[in-house]
Symmetry: C2
């Protein structure tokens, strides 16, 4: 009986090897050869799946987005809209070793976004998804009376998204200043400030 | 009479050539050879100033920080604390071609921050400066009665800094979604929301 190769699983092996190489050497160091060495494959086997370095990197970047969607939809989300939104945002930020790696690779890829049109398009797609998530969090809070009526939800969604990405960036590049407890404190404070009656115990 | 070489000016020539190469090819493409070609120099002349690629890149990164300090302190700042803070933050964000380039290079360098301890230290220093600026802006607004008394200035400074870097990141990687008018609108809205009496025309 011929050996059945699970191509999807093999591609994922390469994605994990690519992530490991990127973490160690940056995007520039993630050549097909370096990834093959990391995975324990021959360079030609890697090329069977990805003919160029760009293809491999873009697949690895896409895999990070898919992984983020999975984390976001994982069970045990709180029912309260503000607590739910806080939990969703926290799950995407570097608050555990897995999300730490995903965020590090996101930052490592940002330099590729500047020079590669496909990476740029992928990044814009991710930003659209981030914008939708922030808007959904705020809409749910608003519907539950957790946001003051005069608040501009369009602007707030853009602010929340920028805040979210800024926190992610600080957590990756300057982790001592942005540990998980600080991430939670900042997001919680920010979401609470939107409530109808400001209290002094914010 | 022997030709007098202005070494400082020559180093800056190389920094500008390095910026141009980084914008086109990313940090990974900014080899001593590529920078020399861009500047119209021999590789060995470049090596007289910078013996390694890392030295050249770190000098170029430092030059961006110095340039930012100059922009920040340029004259014609408004006297009103909130307007002054808004102007200072805007001057550092991609709101004109020069600051666009500086911010693009900052993003291109972020991948280096992950893998190079010296770039990491330099980035942390920049973050300290960013934190101080945000705190100063808020302290001045607070002293002028532009911030409600119950507001936590420590947390607000961290939020403002994350927001600032998130806006910068979006403006560089997804410029259609974050043009200069949008940058001003978001920062202005955010600084106004801190005022003592929320009004409906925020």
């Amino acid at each position: 009986m011929p050996k059945i190769v699970d191509h999807e699983e093999r591609r994922w092996e390469l994605v994990r090897a690519t992530w490991a190489v990127i973490r160690e050497r940056g995007v520039g160091g993630a050549s097909v050869r370096a990834v093959a060495r990391q995975a324990g494959w021959s360079a030609s086997s890697v090329q069977y799946y990805f003919s160029t370095q760009a293809e491999l990197l873009l697949f690895a970047l896409r895999a990070i987005s898919e992984e983020a969607e999975r984390r976001l939809d994982a069970p045990d989300l709180p029912a309260d809209p503000r607590a739910r939104g806080l939990t969703q945002l926290e799950r995407l930020l570097p608050t555990d070793p897995d999300s730490q790696v995903a965020n590090e690779i996101w930052v490592a890829f940002l330099s590729l976004v500047l020079v590669d049109p496909e990476a740029r398009a992928l990044n814009s797609e991710d930003n659209r998804r981030g914008a939708r998530l922030c808007r959904e969090v705020l809409d749910a809070m608003s519907a539950a009376g957790q946001i003051a009526p005069h608040v501009d939800l369009d602007i707030e969604a853009a602010l929340l998204q920028a805040l979210f990405d800024g926190i992610a960036l600080h957590a990756v590049t300057d982790p001592d200043q942005m540990p998980p407890t600080r991430i939670r404190q900042l997001l919680d404070y920010h979401l609470r400030r939107l409530q109808p009656t400001p209290t002094t115990d914010q």
